[in-house]
Every structure is written in structure tokens, then in C-alpha cells.
Amino acid sequence: MELVLALGIGILVASGVWLLLRPRTFQVILGLSMLSYAVNLFIYAMGRLAVDAPPLVGSGPPDPALYDDPLPQALVLTAIVISFAMTALLLVVLLASRGLTGTDHVDGEDGE
């Protein structure tokens, strides 16, 4: 499970960074989305991976080893909402830029 998660984060970051450095605005947005997925998974992994462990302490014995860490999950939730909103906002800026400059190059003009 650790290996799968690590590979997933690595591939997402690699593709995200590559797309982020591309010249077209849409690629940049996709890159940022992928990076934010990777970061969310990363935060999640920082709370340690556990299978079948509930995040909330019930009436059972208060032994931390039996439970999952709830805090990273709350952090991820916040991070998801924020990056979603930022992506939406970036899309609006993208459209405005496309409309005003007539090109989808990130600098507003084609380099060649």
C-alpha cells in the first residue's frame, strides 16, 4: 500500500510539474490540479497509513494505536476545497486572457 501511494504521488507530481511548465494555459491548469491531488495524498500519508482503523474514538479503549489520525483528513478536506476554488478562479482568468489577448499562451502572446 505504501508503494502504491508513493508511486501515485510521484507520478502525479512529475506530470503536474511538467504540465505546469508548458506554454498553454489549459495545460498549466491541469498541471496545478494534478499537483494539488498529489499534495492532498501527501498530507493524507503524513497521518500514517492504516487499514480498517476508525478516525474517531468511540466507546472502546482509548488506545491511539487502534485509531487513524483524524487531523490530516480534516486538513485534506480544507485543502481540497481551497484548491478547487482556486482552479475555478484560474479558469475564469484563463477565459478572460483568451478573450482579451486572442491566444492561449501563458504570456498572452505567441513566442515564435
Binding site: 505546469l20 499537483l35 497521518g47 481551497i82 478562479l89 482568468v93 501563458v106
Partner: protein, 538 residues
């Protein structure tokens, strides 16, 4: 904890703008007057609250009782719940934010708030994000408030949309979203190792981290530092700053001068709190990076300011010089330097903000900026200057060139750090502090002093050149028309700087205590971790 209702004042700088912005959403976009009144009222109340808080901190602190106060939001005990912390530094930053907010808002009322929709709501949300970032006591809420202020700043940057603004905003938004992701990686690495994000708790836990995990904490802190320094505009991370700020509407750029100081604040707070001690590796972690990075930033800003051909670029590079000075001073560390740097922070922020406001007035005769934009929403009102039932022109000030010239000269003296104004006092205090290090003066210290003086000279040369070109050269253009609402904020900002000069003694004492409190980590940790819950048995 006793103190009655006044202890709840801490949360007001966050709540008031939030409520004000929420009220705006209920109002139709055409009801400009109501929106202006709400915004003006909120920001004035914000200034009053901040000054009250500052006075409270100063009164408690100078009576040699602990000045740091923690406020438990949601009434959970400290490392578990969300804490707001008010101390010397955050009180000072709150007052600075409210001052800039009020002046920029008054300036915007003259015409700029009508250049696009929802200016006032975004403006208030920006202030809420700033205040929250200055008050919060844990890393994750710092992230959340960073996002609030960034989201609002995206909207403000696009205010009065034009091609240049949209192009600048595309880069600015992308860069800041990527930076926020770095922030998250850094914060979660630190959480993964230490199990906490509360800053006071981190102070206790970081020295206890096992040797095998130290590298993880260090990389987490380094990534976090990069996120802060991108905001602060350290070379080579600050390449975006002059262009972005030059594209923004003048009142927005004037408010943005505090935006880059948020990065400085975060470095001051997190770095000095977590790595201020002298235990093991935490004692000197990252010091050289800040010192040399800051010096490189100053050099870069100096070259940039000499190369700048427009006034807004000059202002942008002055901002970079000011950020570099502060970063280098934090890296140089130690007592009196910090006090001078804090004085410099306040003085340079006010001066550059006034400068951004002045630029548009000076350059107005060259070209009138287009204030009308295409409607995006159905209820949007895009008439830039026409208003029913209102005087279009307002009071016109005579002798505009003289007023502009005097204001311009004031700004130049302040930013370049020439006597007798507060910019000089701040630089003098910093250099004095550096020379006072005595046994620890090295080549880099002399380099920093040379850069401090040299950058001031470069600013002076660049601004004088532009000033002669724009103000003091004979011109065929008609004199620019100024309105009272445009001159008053500039005058207010410069008056505050004058006040800083006249009352330099008390201000400097406050700064010295701020510098000391930043070194007093036990005081901070004690105040936060021992904060009593309301209703808990005493």
C-alpha cells in the same frame, strides 16, 4: 481569565470585515453609496479596534507583565483547538494593515471603486485575510488565511480589468497556487514528524525530534520558508512582484504593499519562534540563507530601481529592496538590529504605499486610464464615473503641482532613508545595531551596511530622475485635476510617517520591546499553552 468583554476584541479584526463583506453580497451592485458607507465604517472600526489592542499590549507590556495574549476560538485547550495570539508584533501589524486599508479605501472612493464590480467586498475580505494571518497561532490556519487574502487579492488585481491586468493576474494566480501547494507540503511534513501544527507546541517539540527525523523537519521548514519568501519577494523568487504591482489599480497596489510584508511577518514569526534558541541545530538553522538571500535581493532591487523607466517599476523595486533589507536583517539576527528592522518595516510600508497612490496622480496628465470594463454579471454596474445625484468632480485642489511635488519629495526622502524623516531613523537604527554586534562583525555585516546605504542612493537617483521628468519639467499638458479624496490619503500616510519621526523615542521603545518579545520564546509558549478555557475550573 478575567478581563470581561475586552478579551473578545482579539477576534474582531477577523470578524468585522467578514461580516461587512457578507452584507455587501446582499446589496445590489448599483447601491454604491450603501456599500461605501459599510466599507468605510468597517475599516474605521477596524482601525479603532487595532489601536485599542495595540494600546492594551503596550500598557501591559510596559508594566512588565506578559503582553502576549492567547484567545481560544471554540474554547478548546491550546494545542488541540484553534488559537489566536496577540502580541507586540501582531498588534503592530494589525494597526499597519488598518491604516493602509483606510487610506487605500478613501483613495479608491474618489473613482477607482467604480472601475469594476464588487470592489468593497473583495477589499474587506483582503483585510480579513491579512488580519487573520497576523493573529493566528498555528501553521494550518496561517495557510487558510493566506488563501483568503490571496483569493481576495486575485480579485482586486483584476479590478478594472484590462489586458495588462489579466496577463499579470494569470502569472500571479498560477505562481501563488503553486506556492500554496509548497506551503501545504511543508506544513504536512512538519505535522508528520512532530504531530502538531500549533506554533507554541512546535517550539516544545522540535528540539525533541529524534535524530533520524531531523532532516525531515529541516526540509519541511525549508519548503515552508520558500513559500513565505515567494510572497515576500526574495531574489530569485520575487521576479513576479514589480510587474504584477505595476499592473494593479493604484489603491490596490497601495494595499498590496502590506501583502508582501505578510511573507516577512511569517518568516519573523515562524523562524524566530522555532529557531531562535541556541540548542543544537535549531539555533542557527537557515540564518545564512536569510542573510545572503536578503543581500542578493537588495542588490537585485538596487539594479532594478536604476534600470526602471516608469515610476510604478521604481515603486515595485523599492518594495523588493525593502523586503531584502528586512530578510537580511532577520538573518543578521540579534537584538537591536531587529528593532531597527521593525521600524523600517512600518516606515517603508507606509512610504511605498503613499508612493503608489501618488504615482497615478503624477502620471494622470500623461494618459487617463480607462475606467470602464465590460459587464460580467447581470446586476453589474459598469459606469465608471457617472453617478446619479452626485457631484462628478468634487472639490478640486488648486496648486496641484506644488502639492504633488511636496508629496513626491517626502516619499523619496522616506524610501531612500534620508534625514530627517523616519526612513533615516530606521536605517540608522539598523546600522547602529549591526555595528553594535562588535565581536561578531564579519565581512557580510559590512556588505549589508554598504548595501543599506547604496540601495538608498539608487532609489534617490532613480526617483529624482523620474521626478524631474514628470513634475518639475515644463509641460504643455494641462494641470492634473486632483480631488480631496485623493490627496487626503496620501497626506494621511505621510503624516503617520511624520508622526513616527516626531515620536521616534516611544516608537523605538515599542520596537525594541517587540524585538525582545520575538526572542522571548518561553513567554510566547507559556501564554499560549497555559491559556485558560472559559468555564474551566480555576
Amino acid at each position: 481569565m478575567t478581563g470581561g468583554w475586552t478579551q473578545h476584541l482579539i477576534v474582531l479584526p477577523i470578524l468585522m470585515p467578514l461580516i461587512g463583506a457578507a452584507l455587501m453580497l446582499l446589496l445590489n451592485e448599483r447601491r454604491t453609496m450603501a456599500k461605501r458607507i459599510i466599507a468605510l465604517f468597517t475599516v474605521t472600526a477596524l482601525l479603532a479596534t487595532s489601536i485599542t489592542l495595540l494600546a492594551g499590549v503596550a500598557a501591559a507590556g510596559f508594566n512588565s507583565s506578559p503582553a502576549t495574549r492567547a484567545y481560544l476560538v471554540g474554547n478548546w485547550a491550546a494545542p488541540f483547538g484553534i488559537v489566536l495570539v496577540l502580541d507586540w508584533l501582531s498588534a503592530m501589524m494589525l494597526v499597519l494593515t488598518a491604516t493602509l486599508g483606510l487610506t487605500s479605501l478613501i483613495y479608491a472612493l474618489a473613482r477607482w471603486d467604480r472601475a469594476g464590480p464588487r470592489f468593497h467586498a473583495l477589499f474587506l475580505l483582503q483585510l480579513m485575510g491579512l488580519n487573520g494571518a497576523f493573529l493566528t497561532g498555528d501553521l494550518f490556519n496561517l495557510f487558510v488565511f493566506f488563501e483568503v487574502l490571496l483569493a481576495a487579492s486575485f480579485g482586486l488585481l483584476l479590478h478594472g480589468s484590462s489586458k495588462a491586468r489579466v496577463k499579470a493576474a494569470l502569472h500571479y494566480v498560477t505562481l501563488n497556487v503553486a506556492t500554496s501547494l509548497l506551503f501545504l507540503i511543508g506544513a504536512s511534513l512538519i505535522y508528520g514528524v512532530t504531530g502538531t501544527l500549533n506554533m507554541a507546541d512546535l517550539v516544545v517539540r522540535i528540539p525533541a525530534v529524534a535524530n533520524s527525523d531531523v532532516a525531515l523537519v529541516q526540509s519541511g521548514m525549508a519548503i515552508l520558508g520558500i513559500a513565505f519568501l515567494v510572497k515576500a519577494g526574495m531574489w530569485p523568487l520575487g521576479f513576479w512582484l514589480p510587474r504584477t504591482y505595476a499592473a494593479a489599480a493604484p489603491p490596490v497596489a497601495a494595499l498590496f504593499t502590506i501583502l508582501s510584508k505578510v511573507g516577512i511577518y511569517a518568516v519573523l514569526r515562524v523562524y524566530l519562534l522555532l529557531f531562535g534558541g541556541d540548542l543544537g541545530w535549531t539555533g542557527s538553522y537557515g540564518e545564512e540563507w536569510l542573510l545572503f538571500g536578503g543581500m542578493a535581493t537588495m542588490a537585485f532591487g538596487t539594479i532594478g530601481v536604476l534600470a526602471a523607466r516608469t515610476l510604478s517599476r521604481v515603486a515595485g523595486y523599492s518594495l523588493i529592496i525593502s523586503a531584502g533589507t528586512l530578510i537580511a536583517a532577520i538573518g543578521a539576527g540579534a537584538g537591536d538590529v531587529l528593532a531597527g528592522a521593525l521600524f523600517y518595516l512600518v516606515s517603508s510600508t507606509l512610504a511605498i504605499s503613499a508612493f503608489y497612490l501618488l504615482i497615478e496622480l503624477v502620471e494622470r496628465q500623461e494618459a487617463l486610464p480607462a475606467g470602464v470594463s465590460e459587464p460580467v454579471f447581470d446586476d453589474e454596474y459598469t459606469g465608471a464615473l457617472k453617478e446619479d445625484g452626485e457631484e462628478e468632480i468634487g472639490i478640486i485642489i488648486p496648486a496641484t503641482i506644488a502639492i504633488l511635488g511636496i508629496g513626491f519629495a517626502f516619499c523619496v526622502l522616506l524610501i531612500a532613508g534620508l534625514p530627517p524623516l523616519s526612513g533615516f531613523i530606521a536605517k540608522f537604527a539598523m546600522i547602529g545595531g549591526l555595528l553594535g554586534l562588535q565581536d561578531r562583525i564579519t565581512g557580510s555585516t559590512w556588505g549589508l551596511i554598504a548595501l543599506l546605504i547604496g540601495s538608498g542612493l539608487a532609489v534617490l537617483v532613480a526617483t529624482t530622475r523620474a521626478g524631474i521628468d514628470l513634475i518639475w519639467a515644463p509641460s504643455n499638458n494641462p494641470q492634473p485635476v486632483l480631488r480631496l479624496a485623493e490627496v487626503v490619503p496620501v497626506a494621511m500616510l505621510l503624516a503617520v510617517c511624520l508622526g513616527l519621526m516626531i515620536f521616534a523615542g516611544p516608537t523605538m521603545r515599542y520596537m525594541e520591546r517587540t524585538g525582545q518579545s520575538l526572542g522571548d520564546r518561553e513567554g510566547y509558549v507559556g501564554a499560549v499553552l497555559s491559556a485558560q478555557r472559559v468555564g474551566a475550573g480555576r
